[in-house]
């Protein structure tokens, strides 16, 4: 079995505050210091670990659900796998071309039209002009933003923006596909289209990294789940157990009616496809 992604003891550290003004350096705010007390004030160089000793391996063709609460390090991990960031310690190795979305919506230039952005984005993901030309109609059809394709994307609605980004990403010939909260925006027909397309991607043997808070769709899409908990791997293995680990299975003491309703709808959507 070919290994697709190796994450080996990866640590990524961030500072609380990067840019300081001369004034802050020379004259630290006394009031703030007094209010904070002596011990727990934030020092200028104070850091936190967004990822702390994360290790796992992904086999080719596996589809991994990455779960965890907000701020647990999911997006940082995706950025490391995708190559946007470099780990401070440890190493990340991948095999083949990577495509996908980080935090709903690709890097678009607001002043360019949707059409130009499709070409630009595809080129950034490593596609040639001929490749993009050949797939352009599919991409435009998938995004389905109509005549707004020739309008600057800065004027798009957030839903249209995400659709365009997703449409480009899923049409790249990739070996690893990253999907970060793709279902957060977009209406129901589009969600259905996305899930269907992701299922195709998965079945073609492409490794998939799927981030979602919806237990239902992870259950449908993934055959293994990794749960991040404050930057560490809290759980790695069976999807059902991961959901139990996160208490996403609805056994909460005070179930939020709206949330479980959304979950049910996602479940329904997932079984639709």
């Amino acid at each position: 079995m070919t290994t697709s992604i190796v994450v080996d003891n990866v640590t990524k550290t961030f500072r609380y505050q990067y840019q300081r003004t001369l004034k802050q350096m020379l004259r630290p705010d006394r009031r703030k210091r007094e209010a904070a007390g002596e011990g727990d004030q934030l020092e200028a160089g104070a850091t936190f670990k967004a990822l702390d000793g994360v290790s796992f391996e992904v086999k080719q063709g596996e589809s991994i659900g990455l779960m965890g609460l907000n701020g647990s390090g999911k997006s940082t991990l995706l950025k490391l796998v995708n190559g946007v960031m470099v780990p401070d310690e440890g190493q990340v190795l991948t095999r083949g071309r990577i495509s996908g979305l980080i935090a709903t919506g690709a890097g678009f230039h607001n002043e360019l039209s949707g059409r130009d952005n499709i070409y630009m984005n595809a080129a950034m993901l490593g596609m040639s002009k001929e490749e993009t030309d050949a797939k352009f109609d599919d991409i435009a059809g998938f995004a389905d933003v109509g005549r707004q394709l020739d309008m600057p994307v800065g004027n798009y609605s957030s839903g249209q923006f995400a659709r365009l980004g997703f449409a480009v990403a899923v049409h790249v010939d990739c070996d690893i596909f990253i999907a970060d909260e793709v279902l957060a925006v977009g209406d129901r027909p589009f969600k259905r289209k996305c899930l269907k397309r992701m299922k195709e991607i998965r079945e073609s043997g492409i490794t998939m990294f799927y981030v979602s808070h919806s237990a239902g769709s992870v259950k449908k899409m993934c055959d293994r789940a990794i749960v991040l908990d404050k930057g560490k791997v809290g759980f790695d293995g069976d999807v059902d157990e991961a959901i139990k680990y996160l208490h996403y299975d609805g056994d909460d003491d005070e179930p939020d009616s709206e949330e479980s309703e959304v979950d049910e709808r996602d479940d329904a959507l997932a079984s639709d496809i």
């Binding site: 290994t3 190796v6 946007v84 990577i98 950034m124 195709e200 079945e203 043997g205």
Partner: protein
Amino acid sequence: MSTSTTSEAVPDPRPVEVRHDLAHVPLAPPSRTSGVLEVFRRRYLLRLLVRREIQARYAGTAFGLLWSYINPFTRFLTFYLVFGLLLGRGLGIQNFAIHLFAGMVLVNYFTESVTAGTRSLLSNRGVITKMAMPREMFPVASMLVSLWHSVPQLFILVVACVATGIWGGGPLWVPDAVGMGAALLGFLIIMVFGTAFGLMFSCINVLFRDFQRIVQTFINMIPFTAPMMYPYWISYNRFGGGVWHEIYLANPVAEAVQLIQRGFWYPTCDGPCAMMPNPNGDGTTIPAPEFADHLYTRGFVTLAVGLLLLVVGQWVFARLEKSITERL
């Protein structure tokens, strides 16, 4: 997705390795690139970035591309009025306007590529924080956009040279091979130094946001450090040909400006291009050196230094690039 499934109901029975063959591809860090060389390997993306930058620079303005003529023109007019007409007596330069404008083509190119290069990473942060690609693309693209903007100026320069030959007193302007080679060398020098500074400064500017203001402050001094609004011999006279003179000439912009003047201004002259007061003080003038001695040797040495600086710039970029994404 080349092997996407035809029917969704029946799972493909073939094993993953057959459906999507990857065994021959090596495991590698996803962020690894080969630096500036990678930029030229992905020319198509570079072309798109350059085109976007050109479209975006004056987006939303009524005058649009005209601004890349208006700014240099007003600057030229200012320098011409002050140095050519107000202070002009005693400078002794033939065809002063061409002497000045030839230099300004390269000076504008240099200042524009350094300032735009310095800002390039910061102004593309939306893309950089989400897409993995060689980040060297952005400073290099800024440099190429500035080069593209100097094309119309070069065109105006040629027209001016030809017009001076026809209506002016001098000989018809005929470009010579040596002169054109010199001008090309001047462009190459500015291109290499502009890229090297762009690479270094763009990274530093992300880590230390004051940097673009510091660069802006120093870039305003550049037009005065090259012999274009005053003749070369003045610097030679004032510095007395010593160490300071060598330092003055070590400036790549000063060197490049003389090279492009050799290509365009020098052939327009009738007789000696520049005159200076006779050192014995009898009030007469004698022919002055137009350019520094060993102009071409100095040019090639400057280019070599520039290439070295480019390697250093790439090294700095590679070192600092790792921490850029989280600081944007």
